[in-house]
């Protein structure tokens, strides 16, 4: 077999090595904080996980006179026979102590050898095992996935998330297109508007949400103030909206806040795209007598599809993962769980109730949804993207 020429060159290998050296730091960071947890979530989704003392090999079985042992263990003392048994198994007499007592289960520790032993009453016998207390994984097959779909909250979270994505992604994009088109005109103070639109995107999300908590406040909130002022101007008397405590309004509140947050960023990307479109197309269109709207529909929009496509993928993925906004805005899953999104579900299952396997399973399902949608976009949607050549 002949090795291609470029693979034989020393320079090629030198440059490759150099490139990988530059990549190494970020690969390490990604490896530890992204890939390792990512793979583990898949693994954990197939296990029941809890901290417990797991018995190892049997060291000794006592069948007669177990009462003398249990009576002493119940008082936290070590029966002399037991100490001898453990000594024969390699334990150190001086460093043995009892740390846990139940009616049929006792755990001892040998400090010197960092070894635990568990004495368990099984039927009429006492069994002494070597043991370890650990974050123990027991395989449960697909049980966690089944539990997720049996739990009424999970389909609910799935539905709410889909609704949120289905509304907020197209609305943000449409508004961003509009803003970008306006900004693309020769406008006085364009630089200012660009900055103003970008600010929400770079402001920390928790700060934004805290401000919106005030905007949505029923009694002193800006939004209700505007609504009631407008209503009063028309002579109508409206009751104040409880944005954060009404299950009908919770999701709209979340959507409005996030549209506001992302619209500027998206508009800026689209604006950059618009300004990158070759002037010649516009001139040609004008020569052919095309009107403003026609130019926008037939030239701007098609040539902007790469940017639109990029934003669609990014915002779709981002929207599916919505969490912090819910957490801060509602200080919980929202009124009657109207803001329960999938990531919020994952969070409560893991950190409120300690169901790590179930939480992992839910996050794997979320991954599958995002993956499938991204795949669809990359194959089907991308065919409609015009790349300028």
């Amino acid at each position: 077999m002949r090795i291609p020429a470029h693979l034989r060159s020393k320079r090629f290998w030198g440059e490759t090595l150099e490139a990988y050296l530059f990549l190494l730091p970020i690969l390490l960071v990604l490896g530890v904080f992204t890939f390792y947890p990512f793979v583990n979530a898949f693994v954990y989704s197939l296990y029941d996980i809890r901290t417990r003392t797991v018995p190892g090999p049997v060291v000794y079985t006592l069948t007669e006179g177990i009462e003398t042992w249990t009576a002493q263990l119940a008082r936290g003392r070590l029966p002399e026979d037991l100490v001898e048994v453990l000594e024969r198994a390699g334990a150190s007499r001086e460093s043995l102590w009892v740390r846990l007592r139940q009616t049929t289960r006792w755990v001892l520790k040998d400090d010197e050898n960092q070894q635990e032993y568990i004495v368990v009453k099984e039927g009429d016998a006492l069994l002494v095992y070597r043991a370890t207390t650990q974050w123990a994984l027991s395989p449960v097959g697909w049980d966690n996935f089944r539990t997720a779909f049996r739990d009424p909250d999970f389909p609910k979270a799935l539905f709410i998330t889909l609704k949120y994505v289905g509304i907020s992604v197209p609305v943000t994009l449409a508004l961003a297109l509009l803003i970008a088109t306006v900004l693309n005109q020769a406008l006085v103070g364009r630089a200012f508007f660009r900055l103003a639109h970008f600010l929400p995107y770079i402001t920390p999300i928790v700060a934004i949400t805290m401000v919106w908590r005030w905007i949505y406040d029923r009694d002193v909130g800006l939004l209700n103030y505007i609504f009631s002022s407008v209503a009063k101007a028309f002579g109508a008397n409206v009751s104040l909206l409880t944005w954060l405590d009404d299950p009908q309004l919770a999701l709209p509140a979340l959507i409005i806040m996030n549209v506001w947050r992302f619209v500027g960023y998206q508009a800026l990307i689209l604006l950059a795209g618009m300004q990158g479109i070759d002037r010649e197309y516009y001139e040609a269109a004008r020569v052919d007598g095309a009107g403003g709207l026609q130019v926008w529909r037939r030239i701007t929009l098609p040539l902007l599809t790469p940017q639109i496509f990029f934003l669609l993928i990014i915002s779709l993925i981002g929207s599916f993962k919505i969490f912090e906004e819910v957490f801060v805005l509602f200080m919980g899953p929202g009124p009657q769980k109207a803001g329960l999104t999938i990531v919020y579900y994952v969070f409560t299952k893991a950190f409120d109730s300690g169901h790590y396997g179930l939480a992992s399973a839910a996050s794997v399902i979320l991954f599958a949804i995002i993956f499938a949608l991204s795949l669809f976009q990359l194959t089907v949607v991308q065919r409609r993207v015009h790349y300028e050549r």
Partner: protein, 402 residues
């Protein structure tokens, strides 16, 4: 070179004559609370020069919880940590039986309201605890209610729709859906419980449960129902006659009332068949993973120190938490403090009258999540109390039978 040799020699001699044990203590006490804890721990170290306590503030409770979960999973938890009961149930096997290391008189001194056993084991002692009490506006309710009947009558008399839009603007009382502890207090006062004593049967929808639910539903019609803290509403000048809240919220509620320029006072809860009131707050527990017996013994000494009469009283006075031992409550210092601070008397009386803790079922957090869901339905009148309680009971049933 010679100087370094002397230093090394001194260090070596020091370590021979002075076998020190180092223990770590993770907590979530910020600001003045953290300073008080640090002060007490320093006092402990002064009394026990052979013990070094590595006191680590881990952030808010949620941060502490997540760090503990990670530390237990890694097999490297601290020696001692603050923890809620529902965290404790997640790592029972990793904790030490405290009665093996704490003197009997220390454990016997803990008030009966805090008695709790996990699978028959004593593994926690109460630490920073608060209890539900009644906050009320003396200008609107001169004689605060002592019974359910009074509570409903007096608060509903205040509720008003001032602008005639069909929605209340002034409220008799207030409830938070994320806070089902108030429902559990009503339930216990009516003589009910979530589960039967042996945990085999769901009893939340029996006659007592229904009575509690109906009472709550009637009150809800006169109440402000919001997820934000009630003090937020008070601060905005919203009228609320009387509401149930934790004693730990005392400073927040008082400051809110001050901002709004309204008077606010506190009394024990109105009672029904008994004067039960739910206790909240964390306990202390000792991890055995990665710890030697000497470290466990040192941590037990620290617990015994923190539960000593003078230290409990100091802790309670400086933090506003309830005193957790009999000797502390009866002490001269606390009695005098109660004379000067009516609020301290109220929470102490409430504690002695009927303090009760969380259900120690391993699935309590799942049960609590259901309680929140149905408590909200009850408060918002989405269904009759009977329908709501039956549906709740059915869900708890399927949860515990899994």
């Amino acid at each position: 070179m010679r100087r370094m040799g002397v230093v090394l020699l001194v260090l070596a001699l020091g370590s021979v004559g002075f076998a020190q044990v180092t223990i770590s203590f993770w907590h979530a006490m910020s600001g003045a609370l953290g300073e008080t804890l640090a002060f007490l721990v320093q006092k402990f170290q002064d009394e026990h020069p052979d013990i070094v306590v590595d006191l680590v503030y881990q952030g808010a409770y949620s941060a502490l919880q997540q760090k503990l979960i990670a530390a237990v999973a890694a097999g490297q938890p601290p020696t001692l940590a603050q923890q809620y009961e529902n965290w404790t149930t997640q790592w029972l096997d990793a904790l030490v039986d405290l009665d093996l290391f704490l003197p009997e008189e220390v454990l016997n001194d803990v008030l009966p309201a805090f008695d709790q056993k996990f699978d028959g084991r004593i593994i926690t002692v109460p630490f920073n605890k608060s209890i539900l009490v009644l906050y009320y506006r003396p200008d609107l309710i001169p004689n605060p209610p002592t019974t359910w009947e009074d509570f409903e009558r007096l608060t509903c008399a205040i509720a008003k729709d001032t602008d005639g839009d069909g929605v209340l603007n002034e409220y008799g009382t207030a409830f938070r859906p994320p806070n089902p502890e108030i429902f559990l207090t009503f339930l216990t006062q009516a003589g009910g419980a979530i589960l039967s004593e042996d945990w085999t049967e769901v009893t939340i929808n029996n006659a007592a449960g229904l009575e509690a639910a109906e009472f709550a539903a009637r009150l809800a019609k006169c109440a402000l129902v919001q997820s934000a803290y009630i003090s937020d509403a008070i601060q905005k000048g919203i009228v609320v006659g009387a509401w149930i809240d934790t004693s730990a919220g005392y400073t927040y509620n008082m400051n809110a009332a001050k901002t709004a320029g309204v008077p606010l006072a506190v009394v024990p809860l109105p009672c029904y068949k008994n004067c039960a009131s739910m206790i909240q707050g964390t306990n202390l527990a000792i991890f055995s993973m990665n710890q030697s017996k000497a470290q466990i013994e040192a941590a037990a000494k620290l617990i015994a120190f923190l539960l000593r009469e003078d230290n409990i009283v100091e802790w309670a006075m400086k933090t506003g938490y309830v005193p957790v031992t009999k000797t502390a409550v009866e002490s001269q210092a606390w009695q005098e403090y109660m004379e000067a601070n009516p609020y301290a008397r109220v929470m102490t009386e409430q504690l002695l009258a009927g303090g009760f803790g969380q259900l120690l079922h391993p699935k309590y957090m799942d049960i609590r999540s259901l309680l929140i869901t149905y408590w909200e339905l009850l408060l918002k009148g989405e269904g009759t109390p009977k329908e709501i309680m039956d549906a709740l009971a059915a869900e708890i049933e399927s949860l515990i039978s899994e």
